[in-house]
Structures are given as structure tokens and as C-alpha cells.
Amino acid sequence: MINWTDKLSPQVKSIPPSGIRRFFDLVSEMKGVISLGVGEPDFVTPWHVREACIYSLEKGYTMYTSNWGLLELREEIARHLYNNYKVAYEPRNEVLVTVGVSEGMDLALRALLAPGDEVLVPEPCYVSYAPCTSMAGGTPVPILTSAENDFRVTAAEIKEKITPKTKVIILSYPNNPTGATISREELMEIAKVVKKHDLVVISDEIYDKLTYEGEHTCFASLPAMKNRTILLNGFSKAYAMTGWRLGYACGHPEVIAHMTKIHQYTMLCAPVTAQMAALEALQNGTDEMLKMVAEYDRRRKLVLKGFSEIGLSCFEPKGAFYAFPSIKNTGLSSEEFAERLLMEAKVATVPGSVFGVNGQGHIRCSYAASVENLTEAIDRMDKFLKKLSFCGEEACG
């Protein structure tokens, strides 16, 4: 008998499994649940994109591509970034096509980190940043952003956590799970700190198109920041292409070359079918993308109004497709609240604590769901909250 416990890497063993897992198992066994727990669009990929992919298969596009990705796609990505943010990347050596932002994040961290290097991770944030940092040999240093500031990280909060070992800061706006966005002015302040302390920024901007108020600022477009930034983005959210697993990383040729080295040995290249589809999405997908964004915006308003009417306090998310209401006044922890909401009202959400300790007291609600389901979910939550507060007063179980 082989003893796997002895064989497994201690470093990987020390990383806790995602807190979402337990919830997933709970939900899977239940019927009649309305889920606000999904971190992906409720649209299927627009047909013209799927059709272009089918056509590419018919034409026999089934081979490896360059490690960097199809040049045509990289050119389109560069054009797209220039048109949107006036940041100019050279498609030949500053753009790498990755298997989603997930791979891009892993590559960036592995290309940068030496043992002991510290990575500043403003929380709450997407679940992978800290574990990927650890697996790359670095030390994640959480910055607990405050609910009072709508969870936007400030230059002052960053400064406080900087040590001689700090090498990288991860920014992710619009933010999953809070829906927070950040203004150009605030980013300029952060840029000053970044420059002063000679940091590298990994900017995960996968939700950039899903900005409902104000304009998204690409961090790399700030003065002098392009060469210090690894910009990560992809097709999952804007074009409803999560399952295609396609993203890209842009940055200084030297760091992109290092990332490509890891990518070439571990991934070789992103799937060509997905690359062909992404090309179509960039070339002809803007109209449908904007329609989806308009639809999310309407649902966002519906959910915010609904939450305010049932007495769930929630700061106004201005990006992504999440609302992050506070459930502190119920006296329950995020996990307790989410679990009871699921069991008693059949609404699935994700406990905020999964995304960082300061997510405690919040739940993440995705409004990438139909208007009918959102309305019904808010109704159920209303009844649940009333029952909770009644029981609170009467001290029943």
C-alpha cells in the first residue's frame, strides 16, 4: 500500500480547499433552489461566436498554435486594448494568450516570485489569488479593505502593508465578490505608491466591460504604469465564454517572455478552437456584448431596489454582476446565514467569508439570473429575514 499522505507535497497540503466546495455539495442535493451563487453569465455564448468555432473545426483548425497564441488574435487583442484604453501593446512580444485569467494569474505569480516575496492581496477578492501566490512560493499579505469604503483599496492601506519583501500587488476591479469599481483618481494615488516602492501590479480586469457607472480605467493606461503592470483579461464574462477557458496577459516583453516559458512547458498553447471563437468575439461581438451588459445593469437595479425594500443593506455595486449585502444585523455569520437561507428558503448564495476574512458578515449574490428568478429569490429572502427577526425577538429556535 502506498501512503499518499507521505507522498503529497506539504506545500499543497497546507493550502485549504476552497470554501465554496462545501456549499456546492450541499446545494447539489437539493431541489427547487434558486441560485444566486453562480460566478458566470446566464447567457450562452452568442451564436455567431459558436458558429465561427464550428466553422473553424470544419475547416480543420485542430492543431497547436504558437505558444503565444494565434498572431491574428494577439493583434486583435492589442487593437481592442488600444481602442478601449489607449494602451498600446506589441502583439508579437507583449501579448500572451492564456487558458483563462486563471492561468494568466498563475503564470504571472510564478514568473515573478522568489521564496519569501510578499504579494499584497486586497480582500475580499477572487478565491485563487492567495493560494496561487503560496503555490508560487510567495507569501500572500491580505489588505483588509473596509466596507465603509465600499471595499476599494486605498493608497494608504497599501502603504501600511509594504515591507522590504513586498514585490507585487494584485488589483481586481470591477471586483468579484463585491461589485466594487475604482476611479481613475484613486488608481492614480495607488500608482504613486507602486512607483515609489518599485512594485509590480497584476491587474485582473476580467470584468472591465461590466462597468455600469463611470468608465473603467485600465491600470496599464496610467502614466508610467504600463511597464510595471501585468494586465490580465479574457473572454469569459463580457462575451459569456466561461467554459472556453480563454484569456490573455499583456505586459513588458521581459516578463511576458518568462511567463511564456512556463506556459510553453505546462500548457503549450491555449486551445485553437477557443482562440478562433475569441477572434470572432472581438471582431463582431460588440453589439451582443453591449446588450448583455445593459441587461445586467437592469437586473442590478432590480436587485438593489429589492434588497433595500426587504431591509438588506447593500452598498451600490457598480461593476461585475454581484451584490454583496451585509447580513451583520441578523447576528448570524456568513456561513450560518447562507446555509440557513439555502435550507429554509431555498436560495443559494455564497458566504462572503470565502473571499477573505473581511467578507464575513456579507453574502455574495450574483444577479446573472433571470428577472423571474431574481424577483422570486428576493421574495424568499424577504420571508426568511422576517422569520429570522421574529425568532430573534421571540427567542425561538
Binding site: S18, I20, F23, F24, V27, S28, V33, S35, G37, V38, G39, E40, D42, V44, Y126, V127, S128, N176, R298, R299, K301, L302, K305, G306, A348, V350, V354, V371, T375
Partner: protein, 163 residues
């Protein structure tokens, strides 16, 4: 009509059962304002009718539809309009369009049987004085109607919880 009206119309076109309060929330408007605007849109007949798209075939109700190409001689003064009116007044006629190309008026007729539809064409449509000729095409299967794929109810295939 302004941007708000357009947005209300877009929402209702897609789902006429949306409640005023839902529309108000989604468009960041006052509920009374939405009600007033909808009333006005109804009065102006920008909103013509609220209806449901029914898959009668699935309901086991046999109906026959036919698309009829009609060639007509336009009249001095009214062009095609009077002829079109003579045709669209018949309740069996569901849709009437004036077309460019090799024929003039496109008529969609619904009836209970093929014979009934054919009879209608022969006795009512072909006999209109200005009608030069008709060509009847029976509908064999409806795949998509009013932007909706009839058979295709795509399930939500997403994981119930994902990060």
C-alpha cells in the same frame, strides 16, 4: 418618445408580464411614471397589443398555416393600400405585408385544414379584381417565431455554485 420610453418598450416586447414595479426598479424610475408612460404608449398605439406566443402544435391543436404570394395591379391614387385592406379585413388573414421583388403582397393565412385554406384562397383572395395571381405555400414546420426558437428550451447548465 424618449430613451425611457424606448427602454420600457424593449422590456415589454420581451416580456409583457413584467410588473410596473419591476420595470420601475430596472430603469431607475418612479412606478407612477412608468404607469403613466405605459398608458400613453398604449393610447398612442405604440404598444398595440399584449399577447402570448403559443406553441399550438405542442398543445395538440392542429392548425394549417400558409404563406401566399399575391401579385396585384396597383390602383391609381391608393396604390396597394386599398387592395391590402380588402385582404387584411378577413379574420383568417393573420399577416399582410407589401413586398419588394417578384410579387407584391405576402399574406399569412391560418385555417383548420389544408382544404379550408385552399378554399379561402380560391374563393376570397384570387377573386379580388386587382389580384393577378396567387401562389400558396403551406407551412410544414415552425422552427422559430417572433425571435423565439420554439422547441429549444435551453436548460441552465451552469454549476449551481461557482467562484
Amino acid at each position: 418618445m424618449d430613451k425611457k420610453d424606448r427602454e420600457i418598450l424593449e422590456l415589454l416586447e420581451n416580456n409583457s408580464r413584467l410588473r410596473y414595479e419591476q420595470i420601475a426598479a430596472m430603469l431607475d424610475m418612479d412606478q407612477t411614471e412608468v404607469e403613466n408612460r405605459v398608458k400613453e404608449l398604449e393610447e398612442k398605439r405604440l404598444i398595440v397589443k399584449y399577447h402570448s406566443l403559443i406553441n399550438w402544435e405542442k398543445a395538440g391543436q392542429e392548425t394549417v398555416s400558409a404563406l401566399i404570394e399575391v401579385k396585384v395591379t396597383p390602383q391609381r391614387g391608393s396604390g396597394f393600400d386599398d387592395i391590402a385592406e380588402r385582404i387584411y379585413r378577413f379574420p383568417e388573414v393573420k399577416t399582410v405585408y407589401l413586398m419588394s421583388g417578384s410579387y407584391d403582397i405576402s399574406v399569412l393565412i391560418e385555417g383548420k385544414t389544408m382544404k379550408e385554406v385552399a378554399f379561402f384562397v380560391a374563393t376570397k383572395l384570387a377573386t379580388v379584381e386587382e389580384v393577378q395571381g396567387t401562389a400558396t405555400h403551406f407551412v410544414l414546420k415552425k422552427y422559430k417565431q417572433e425571435g423565439v426558437i420554439l422547441e429549444d428550451k435551453e436548460d441552465d447548465r451552469r454549476l449551481v455554485i461557482s467562484p
